[in-house]
């Protein structure tokens, strides 16, 4: 920051005699205080006050000016931002003003019971008397200042530069400050306030405009764009275009010159770590781990199988032993013998044996061949089926039913098997045909396959869409287009919904004729929930689609299945943030923001800009005359912080030349130091012998009253 606050406490306060005035430049952005006759102010700080709470003790403290942000971490500044005593360029908040004066006097080294020095303090041109009297009151009452003088900063700056020989006795001061800009003409060294003019645009507005524009352009970096940072950017990069329109045109056409003029602010940015593909070793390690886990699972399965085989073998042994025993038992003793074992007949035991052997074989990994084996014995197995019911006992009847059931299921199984076999054959044949076709003309075949694949996949896709998205087929297959409840239902659900609502609405209307016709009851069927199962159609298509895609995958290495590619596209891919995302580009903004000084209507202030202000001011002069006007335009002084923009003088000269008669001599001069000249001028003024006559005391103030204070005005030429 070019403006560096000076807040060292001065130790030589007591060395100054009580006649030596204290000079204060109370500017909108900076407060400067020092001793009359010196070249530089002793203490400079930003004209702001913060009243944060201490984070630990919780007490509210007063912090004046700007400080190292590192020290402010102990305070909770969230509830109170920096506050200024100014509104526009007028002091209105005298509590804040008092804190600022406290701090200023404190740093100047004041240590006695009162501030026993005359005070010269700056104010704005035509300061409202209320503000002036409050300020005088404050200085008299709180600090015990013996006498006070008020002057205008722009005038002091002009007088200072006049003394340096930079500008003439007659002239114009164009002072662009923090919140306002003034044009004040001078005749024979005295400001003519009747002819001055003020536009309510200043450096504050430039910074604010830049800040707003940048935060609108880069909403993600809003937190970076603090007031202080933007102020820095403004001071470093902003300039005044000689001609706004042509400069903007440069940027609009994207010329090389514009590119060179674009500044870039790189925000701190660290590239996100690039994900490295796993190393060979890692892959091997992972594979080994997987293998190990697989091995363990296999072992577990093996152990389980072993124990099952064991169990089954034991059971089988038991059953065989039972059969063996049964042979020795006499015919009539069989039921009593069996009742102990839980089996009813020998046949039952035999069937149990068969079952166990079968499952044992299964467990041992052998093929289940029982069905085929059983086939030849079908006749005896289903012995009871052909015998009519009335010839059977109830038990036999039960047995018959069981056999019937067994037979139908086994037959069904066989049929399904047959069908599967046939399908396999069919597929084989089709594949063979395809292969033949392919061999005939590979390209054509591939093309056909692709076409078919496309057609089918679209069909399937559409059906899916219809299912999930109702009749909504506008190519919006991710389903994000539809909102609302209706969009989420599929066609069948929608139809159901429609039926329900019509039924509900029909209820109240007129005569209830529902149920007179039989078809009416069909409605409930349609309404029922299980109605929305879909038909077999899509499955066939899907199967065909799967076949084609697998086939395509075989013969065309470049083929990528749509569902795979579709799924990757649906996931929003996050572009990794790059260096460019952390850049703040200053292009047009560089000259767009200071342009408001010349065209305040860009920010909605309906007043003339700096160049026209000179014309307005000269027009307002009470004493007219060409020679006077020429003398004035020949000595136009630019002062104030906002005059520091490069290109200001050329632009001002061009602008003033436009509104002044042809051939008018125009000389634009920049003040020797646009920021400090006001204080220096005031310090020099206060050091003059005649200064005490320009001040007024507390007695004067109370005797002469407000009306006198209103008309109070310094004589700058003393």
């Amino acid at each position: 920051m070019p403006f560096i606050s000076k807040i060292q406490r001065q130790s030589d306060y007591s060395l100054f005699p009580s006649t030596c005035p204290i000079v204060i430049d109370n500017g909108g952005s900076y407060f400067r205080i020092g001793w009359a006759g010196e070249t530089d102010p002793r203490v400079i700080f930003r004209n702001i006050v913060q009243r944060p709470r201490h984070k630990i003790t919780g007490e509210t403290v007063t912090i004046v000016g700007d400080h190292d942000p590192a020290l402010l971490k102990y305070f909770d500044c969230t509830r109170s931002g920096p506050r200024s005593a100014f509104e526009s360029n007028v002091v209105y908040q005298f509590e804040i003003m008092e804190y600022i004066l406290d701090f200023g006097f404190d740093r100047l080294g004041a240590d006695r019971s009162q501030v026993d020095h005359p005070v010269l303090i700056t104010e704005c041109a035509c300061n409202p008397v209320q503000s002036r009297s409050k300020m005088a009151e404050l200085l008299f009452e709180s600090y015990g200042v013996p006498s006070v003088a008020f002057g205008v900063d722009a005038a002091f700056s002009y007088k200072y530069n006049q003394r340096l020989g930079i500008c003439d006795n007659d002239g114009l001061a164009i002072c662009s400050g923090f919140s306002t800009s003034h044009a004040i003409p001078f005749i024979s060294g005295e400001p003519v306030y009747a002819a001055c003019c003020r536009t309510n645009v200043g450096g504050y507005h430039v910074t604010d405009y830049l800040k707003q524009l940048l935060s609108l352009k880069y909403p993600h970096h809003m937190s970076r764009l603090t007031w202080e940072k933007v102020e820095d950017l403004k001071m470093e990069h902003c300039y005044i275009a000689p001609d706004y329109a042509s400069e903007a045109k440069l940027f609009q056409n994207g010329t090389k010159e514009a590119e060179e003029k674009t500044r870039c602010w790189q925000l701190p940015w660290t590239p996100s770590p690039i994900e490295e593909p796993p190393s060979e070793e890692e892959i091997a390690r992972k594979a080994a781990l997987k293998e190990k886990q697989g091995q363990r699972l296999r072992e577990m399965a093996e152990a389980k199988r072993c124990s099952r085989i064991n169990e089954l073998e034991n059971e089988l042994k038991g059953l065989e032993f039972l059969l063996q025993q049964l042979k020795h038992v006499e015919e009539n003793a069989v039921p009593s013998f069996l009742s102990a074992t839980g089996y009813v007949s020998k046949e039952e035991i035999e069937s149990a044996v068969a079952k166990v052997t079968q499952s044992l074989r299964k467990a041992k990994g052998g093929q289940v061949e029982s069905e085929e084996k059983a086939d030849p014995s079908a006749a005896e197995k289903y012995a009871l089926i052909d015998i009519p019911d009335n010839m059977l006992t109830p038990e036999q009847l039960k047995e018959k039913r069981r056999q019937l059931f067994l037979k139908t299921t086994s037959e069904g199984r066989q049929r399904a098997k047959q069908k599967r076999f046939e399908e396999e054959l069919e597929r084989e044949r089709q594949n063979k045909r395809d292969e033949e076709k392919r061999l005939e003309n590979p390209e054509l075949y591939l093309e056909q396959m692709h076409a078919k694949y496309k057609e089918l996949s679209e069909k399937v896709e559409q059906r899916k869409r219809q299912k999930t998205n109702g009749g909504h087929t506008n190519g919006n297959n991710n389903g994000s287009g539809g909102v609302g409840r209706g969009e989420r239902l599929n066609a069948a659900q929608k139809e159901r919904m429609r039926l329900l609502t019509t039924a509900a609405f029909d209820r109240g209307k007129g005569e209830d004729t529902f149920g007179i016709k039989d078809e009416d009851w069909q409605l409930y069927k349609l309404m029922s929930k299980d109605n929305d199962e879909d038909d077999e159609g899509p499955d066939e298509d899907e199967a065909e689609l799967a076949r084609i895609s697998s086939r395509l995958r075989q013969i065309d290495p470049t083929f990528v299945s749509k569902s795979e590619s579709g799924s990757t596209a649906e996931v929003p891919r996050f572009r990794p943030l790059s260096k460019e995302d952390f850049q703040i580009m200053l292009g047009v903004e560089r000259f767009r923001c200071p342009e408001i000084l010349f065209r305040p209507n860009l920010i909605g202030v309906d007043q003339a800009g700096l160049d026209e202000m000179a014309g307005v001011s000269i027009r307002r002069l009470p004493s007219k005359g060409q020679s006077l006007e020429e003398r004035i335009t020949n000595s136009i002084l630019m002062t104030g912080g906002s005059c520091l923009f490069p290109g200001m003088d050329e632009r001002l000269e061009a602008g003033i030349r436009m509104i002044r008669p042809c051939g008018t001599p125009i000389r634009i001069i920049k003040a020797s130091d646009p920021i400090l000249d006001a204080w220096r001028g005031a310090a020099a003024y206060a050091a003059a012998m005649q200064f005490p006559q320009q001040t007024f005391t507390k007695m004067d103030y109370y005797e002469k009253g407000e009306d006198w204070l209103r008309r109070y005005q310094l004589r700058y030429t003393i």
């Binding site: 007063t62 406290d102 047009v588």
Partner: protein, 124 residues
């Protein structure tokens, strides 16, 4: 209070020897109502400038009148010259690209852009 804070003396002391009335006496704690300060508008109103002759300069009549130059309009977003105007958003724009951008902007942003030139809709 931390040592470095005390060292830097950034906190204004409560009692200052050179003051005749201390801040804590003038603005006692908890009585915020006595601290009301007139704003500039109210100050100007209270000045009753209309009671004084118009040739006497005062804070209000030294204000610069509106510009005599035709006001050139610039694009609200890019800053280029803006020949066009969007009646829906009230934004001025330079070309079709900017127009597309304007139409895609959320209303909040539109209002913020308009607020830059004091043209936003202000609800009271």
């Amino acid at each position: 209070m931390e040592a470095e804070v005390v060292e830097a003396e950034i906190v204004l002391p409560n009692h200052l020897s050179y003051k005749k009335i201390q801040m804590y006496d003038k603005y006692p704690k908890g009585q915020a109502r006595g601290r009301y300060w007139k704003h500039l508008k109210q100050i100007i109103q209270a000045e009753n400038y209309h009671n004084y002759p118009p040739e006497e300069p005062n804070y209000v009549n030294i204000e610069t009148p509106p510009s005599m130059h035709p006001c050139k309009r610039i694009c609200d977003i890019t800053g280029y010259e803006a020949p066009y105007f969007d009646p829906r958003t009230n934004m001025r724009f330079a070309n079709a690209d900017v127009f597309k951008l304007i139409r895609s902007l959320p209303n909040e942003y539109v209002q913020r852009y308009l607020a830059l030139r004091n043209a936003a809709i202000v609800l009271k």
